[in-house]
């Protein structure tokens, strides 16, 4: 299997240390600009499984959040004690907020992954600080007005600084989430071109599909897409094999996975070309659940091949998932 290189997809990688320093120096403003100006590149990095921005941005947010949280907590406690109040227990409140963000994150990503954990940490840090700040304003608002401004001024300055930095970080996080949702949502409804060393392909996805970066079925996919209800599609490329190697291998694998199994295979030319499209779709039960599993192989005139392989749950065990059929039907080489 051939894997495309960075240069083939035209992504220009920036030095991470520059982004790191600029983000610190501008209290996170550069992070916003950086993400905004490179939105398209980030999307392509998504497809190509490159994640350098996580290692620049998330630690900054996490460290800044931790630092700010500590300062704010100290200031809050000191103030509370000076007023004869006891410190508000942080744990339970934080737990509720944390759960809320976990739910939000999972709702967006629909999958536990390393990236979603990082998002969650960053969001929790920010949320905790916001919670503490909110408590301070609510509990000491009257007292604050009466206090020596210089006494609380330090706290307020700290809070303002932290808020500014983390606010910028929060916007950055939102941008990331928006980028992901944009990529996995509307854009996949359109015809999405994919460029690799061996060819260019087009697929039309239904609503709710997005790209993902994990390995697929324990093999390396060039591209990998996730849909609702655990539907998934991967694209593979082959050189040096024949269709009579690929299809029997798939068929024998499916025979192991699905029991009982019912398969249908079709072969035809694409439009007025000699590019062949071989479609094998099987239905059956996998671990007690009804599934449609399909493979569409484009056999090019130079004998290279590209395969779209998808696994879809199906409600009716005797019929093929219509989304699988539609996606397989849309899988074509570009340009025709």
């Amino acid at each position: 299997m051939d894997t495309p290189s960075d240069s083939n997809i035209g992504i220009k990688l920036r030095p991470g240390w520059q982004v790191f320093l600029l983000t610190l120096g501008t209290f996170g403003v550069y992070a916003c600009l950086w993400f905004y100006s490179r939105a398209k590149e980030i999307k392509r990095m998504e497809v190509q499984n490159f994640w350098p921005w996580l290692w620049v941005f998330v630690p900054v947010v996490a460290l800044a959040a931790a630092f700010a949280l500590n300062n704010l907590a100290d200031a809050y406690c000191k103030l509370a004690r000076s007023k004869g109040s006891t410190a508000t227990p942080r744990g339970l409140g934080l737990m509720g907020v944390m759960l809320m963000f976990v739910v939000i994150t999972f709702a967006v990503l629909e999958r536990v992954s390393f990236s979603s954990i990082l998002y969650t940490i960053a969001l929790l840090s920010f949320a905790a600080i916001m919670l503490m700040l909110n408590n301070a304003v609510r509990n000491f608002a009257v007292e604050i007005d009466c206090l020596d401004t210089s006494g609380f001024g330090k706290v307020r300055n700290i809070v303002a600084g932290v808020f500014y930095t983390l606010g910028s970080g929060a916007v950055s996080i939102l941008i990331i989430i928006l980028l992901l949702s944009e990529y996995s949502g509307e854009r996949l409804n359109e015809e999405v071109p994919f460029v690799s060393e061996n060819g260019q392909y087009r697929i039309s996805f239904p609503d709710g599909w997005r790209a993902n970066h994990d390995s697929f079925m324990n093999t390396d996919s060039l591209y990998y897409f996730l849909g609702p209800n655990m539907s998934e599609v991967g694209i593979h490329e082959y050189t040096g094999l024949s269709i009579d190697d690929v299809v029997p291998t798939r068929m024998l694998n499916l025979q192991d996975v699905l029991d009982p199994i019912d398969c249908k295979e079709n072969r035809s030319f694409i439009a007025n070309t000699f590019i062949r499209k071989v479609v094998l779709i099987c239905t059956g039960k996998e671990l007690g659940e009804d599934y449609s599993i399909g493979s569409a192989v484009l056999v090019f005139e130079d004998s290279t091949m590209a395969e779209l392989y998808g696994s879809f749950p199906t409600e009716n065990p005797s019929s093929v998932n219509p989304e699988l059929e539609r996606i397989i039907e849309s899988f074509e080489p570009l340009p025709l």
């Binding site: 029991d259 398969c263 295979e265 035809s268």
Partner: protein
Amino acid sequence: MKTQYLCSDPLTVLFSALMFLCSSAVFAAAEDDIVWELENDAESIARALELAAELTSTGDQEVLEHRITLHFGDEDIQQRHRITKRYNSSNGVADGTDIVYWDSANENITFNEVTVVSSAGRAISFNPNNVKVIDSNGYDVFTDTREIILQLPQIAVGALSIVEYSTVIDLKELSTPFMIQHYLQSSLHQHFFDLTVSWDTRKPDWVTDFSELQCEEDVSRLTCNAGNIPPVDLDYSVSYYDEIPSVTIAETTSWEEIGEIVLAGVEQAAEFTQQIEELYQERFAGIADKPAQVRAIHEFVTKEIRYVSFSEGVHSIVPHSLEDTVTNLYGDCKDKATLLWALLDRIDVQSYPTLISTNRFDASKASLPGVAYFDHMIVCVDDPDLGTFCLDPTDIYSSLEMVSATVQGKLFLSLLGDKVLSGTLFEAEYLWYFIVQTVSEILQDGTVTEQQHRTYGDYYAASLRASAASYDSEDLVEWAQDMYQETIAGDKSPEFELEGIDTLDRLVTLKSDTEYADLVAADQPLYFTDQAFWLRYTASALTMDNEVYSYRFPGIRYVGKYSYVVDDAWQVTHAGADLEYISEFGALNRTVTIEGNVADIETEITVPKRIVTLAEKESFNKFLELIQLESNFVVYGTLR
């Protein structure tokens, strides 16, 4: 020696067989009819040496000069050819035998010079005793053409040869208007070609399709010349008569006149005498209906009248009488066609003799009327009760319903008196048509039994009959087994039953029973692979190899029905793909159905005849290659 059968080269077997029939000619030795007036003309030799000094060597052997003079007199037509060649390599020397074509029925030939000039400039004379005359191969029933073979002495690298001969045709003896078609390219590079045509009072017509030939005409003379004519490009599958440029000179006439002249000869020969009437009464009068009578007459003329090309003198044009043919039980194309035509007429079937040019598909190459294009005769039926079809009484392998493949698409002239039809004959859409039906049982112990019926139609059937013709009837099973072994399994000798191989039916069916032990693993999930071997073989044989000329693809129609009955030890899960490949060249369709433990795979392929251009070669071959690739089957199953 056994004729090589279909598996080796299906396209050439029938052709070869027919060529064998048509070349087993009887003719009188004609060496004595050649006049020798040889002289070593010093001027001629000097001219050859001068040319040799001037011209750069091209190829193993080359023509330095070819001069033709042709004079249309009021009493005769005189031709003179002078050909000077040079031999540049040992390969050229090896091909140093010279051949002169001679229409011995109409031409008196005189050799004026046959000289070899050594590289040192020494002239070596030819000994006329070393000449051989043989009959030209093919259906040369109208020209009575002979090959005069000149074994030139002392040909060596650097030598020159000069051959000059003249022919005279007495117009009073010539039964049809004169026509000569000279092909301007040969296997050799020609440095100079020169043609001079003169006439006394009757100016001939002329035409050429060679743009490099420069011609000038005045009131009594036509002169044409060309220089540096390259050798003809050779290729795998070519009708050279359609491809090579020519110049044609002919007496003014019309197709109608040609048709009337030939028809008059045929009608003269077709006189229905008492002997023929008795034959009719004995063999055909008692047959109930007209179609059956036609079939019986066709079989009689085709199979019981032996083909012998005996076309001496006037019989190069006029067939032998029916009585001669029936008495001898042999005849050439036109003798058999005349007998067939007369018998069909006797049962009131409307038909007409038709001349065929077996070498030409392109009617535009015959722009001047002439009989010399034609070398074969068949009979075409156009009857209100029976329909329209043509019968080739020399084709002993094709059914009544099929126009012989050797004449399909060829230039023809139908002899209908003043209603002459000309053009190219009907051509079948699919020359290669066959059906393969196979039932394979996959048994629990891994044994696979196979019952196969292969049915071949029309031309394919004729081709198989031709390939089996040299086998005795008791050896036909061996013939079928050989074919099976070469195509499918070298170590198997199936039981065979053959139908239609020794008749003129449309179909030939070969039925075989074979058993393969341990072909699948008994205790493993089923993964059984098979192939449509016969389809694969046919598609492979028809791939376009041409590199210079377009390819005349003859068309394939194939139906394959393969059934796999699997033992209950397995559950059949899949048996391959439904196919729907549609291309500009044809279609490949397949449906796979699984009922219980039986998988049925039905394939239909239609690739109609067409002219495949060089630009289409790659795509066309890809389609044929795809047919071969998709000839594989796999039956999958899980263990129960």
